[in-house]
């Protein structure tokens, strides 16, 4: 039961980056492998505001997430926009390079030493025979709230509907009067916020170190592919499944090998249900 709960926490942490991956893939049709490094940079920014300037973590995280949202718009303008016409493979390779650069910016600034946010130590407590700590509860609350806000945005607000419309059929979106550049900017901004919050949650769960985000990339992509790339609900479900199965796998295999779980999930999904659990079959338009 405790392992299952730990898996839920691991999955919940992955929901936000998985949603960022699936949102961006839906609108821009390329896998952004810089998500891990983007989370790392946002987490270090929150660390700088929280541990170095003494801001409360909640405020520091909010500012870091907003800053990452704005930074993502700038990154898109400088890195991805000029390459947009060259196809998904070029954009994917660019994202790999960008991830390398961002991770090393964090490394140059803070070194390889593991750091942690300035949080008061709190004693873990028991609930229904489960041992949990304050950070895990914060993680569940924040991730759930973020997912609800994302659901509201995507289903209730015009910009959310426009993002889904562009993801569904970009050419039709144009002739329905939807300005793609505006939708793309919003998508990057929201992606940045999700990655910013996700980075802080990872930093709270583990420690802050340069590869902290990259360590999650395979699991995050596994979650997004399992749920169905482009499906927000799928990203949520995929993250929880990958998280729980990864943790449960440690009961039968050495913990070092649990990274294989998302890879196996990706392989199984691509063979038997390429569109994932909640994705739509791909139709070339």
């Amino acid at each position: 039961m405790q392992t299952f709960f730990n898996g839920i926490i691991t999955g919940v942490i992955m929901t936000l980056p998985a949603l960022a991956v699936t949102l961006l893939f839906g609108v821009l049709k390329f896998p952004n492998f810089a998500v891990g490094a983007m989370m790392t940079v946002a987490a270090y920014l929150a660390f700088a505001l929280n541990a170095q300037l003494g801001w409360p973590l909640l405020v520091a995280s909010g500012v870091a997430a907003l800053a990452m949202g704005c930074a993502c718009i700038g990154i898109d303008q400088l890195t991805f926009k000029p390459l947009r016409e060259r196809g998904a493979i070029t954009l994917m390779v660019a994202s790999l390079g960008l991830g390398f650069i961002l991770e090393n910016i964090a490394r140059f600034a803070y070194g390889n030493t593991a750091r942690s946010f300035a949080l008061e130590l709190a004693r873990p407590f028991r609930f229904l025979d489960l041992r949990m700590n304050r950070e895990q509860i914060i993680t569940i609350v924040v991730a759930t709230a973020a997912m609800l806000l994302m659901w509201l945005l995507l289903t209730r607000l015009p910009i959310g509907r426009a993002m889904r419309a562009v993801a569904d059929n970009p050419a039709l979106a144009l002739v329905r009067g939807i300005e793609s550049p505006r939708v793309i900017r919003w998508t990057w901004f929201i992606t940045g916020i999700l990655l910013g919050v996700g980075g802080v949650l990872i930093g709270m769960d583990r420690a802050l170190e340069p590869p902290m985000g990259s360590n999650y990339v395979i699991s995050v992509f596994g979650a997004a592919i399992l749920g169905g790339l482009g499906s927000p609900l799928g990203a949520f479900a995929g993250a929880l499944i990958i998280g729980v199965v990864s943790e449960l796998s440690t009961l039968v295999i050495a913990p070092n090998y649990r990274i294989g779980v998302p890879l196996v999930a990706i392989a199984i999904v691509l063979i038997f249900r390429p569109q994932g659990l909640f994705g739509q079959p791909y139709i070339r338009k």
């Binding site: 509907r161 993801a167 979106a173 329905r176 939807i178």
Partner: protein, 241 residues
Amino acid sequence: MSAVLEVAGLHAGYGAGDILKGIDVALEKGRIVTMIGPNGSGKSTFIKTLAGLLPARQGTMKLDGERLNDLSPPKRVRAGVSYVPQEYNVFRNLTVLENLKIAREFMAEKRGNGSAIDAELIELFPELPAHFGKKAGNLSGGQRQMLAFACALAVRPKVLMLDEPSAGLSPLLMVAVFDKVKKVNAMGVSILMVEQNAREALRISDTCIVLAGGRVRSCAPADAVLGMKDLNRLYLGADVL
């Protein structure tokens, strides 16, 4: 009667070659114009170029005197050009209501009143409200075509361009579609239609333009073209009429 849409010397195409080789067309206000021609004659290319999905290499396109050439597709929609593609003409993963809302939402700044759906649209498409909560991808072919129609009309266009609106529909649904086209036209919307079911389309049209080899071969009153015996052989290359 004045022209709402004027096209002069239009060249456009894919890759190196031009598919449209100097098209001159004028669509008069409140008229239905049907464009016919053999496969590959450039009918769909013409409509896509007007919608802004393909750039014009030469020539001018004007809507009510406003030059369209330099406008992006969304700006052309705001100017008053609405386009219903032949396939994939609704957002499959959005509900019917969301499809209608999105069609109107981005028009609020210039045309339309900003509200999602108006009574006029529902009166024209009374079958749609029953499906508001359904994903558009789950609709039948005829229902999808009606939704696409409604979405294109939600932006209150001056010119509605339809690419093969009856493609893949049963004869009964085809009649229903052309009936809607007439009703839409009666609301004052000028219509430019590309259609393979030429006989049915010409019955409701005012003017027929015959396109072949990327050029306008004929522009005549629709009823006169309907009466021509050898039009199939001359322009369509098949027994379409």
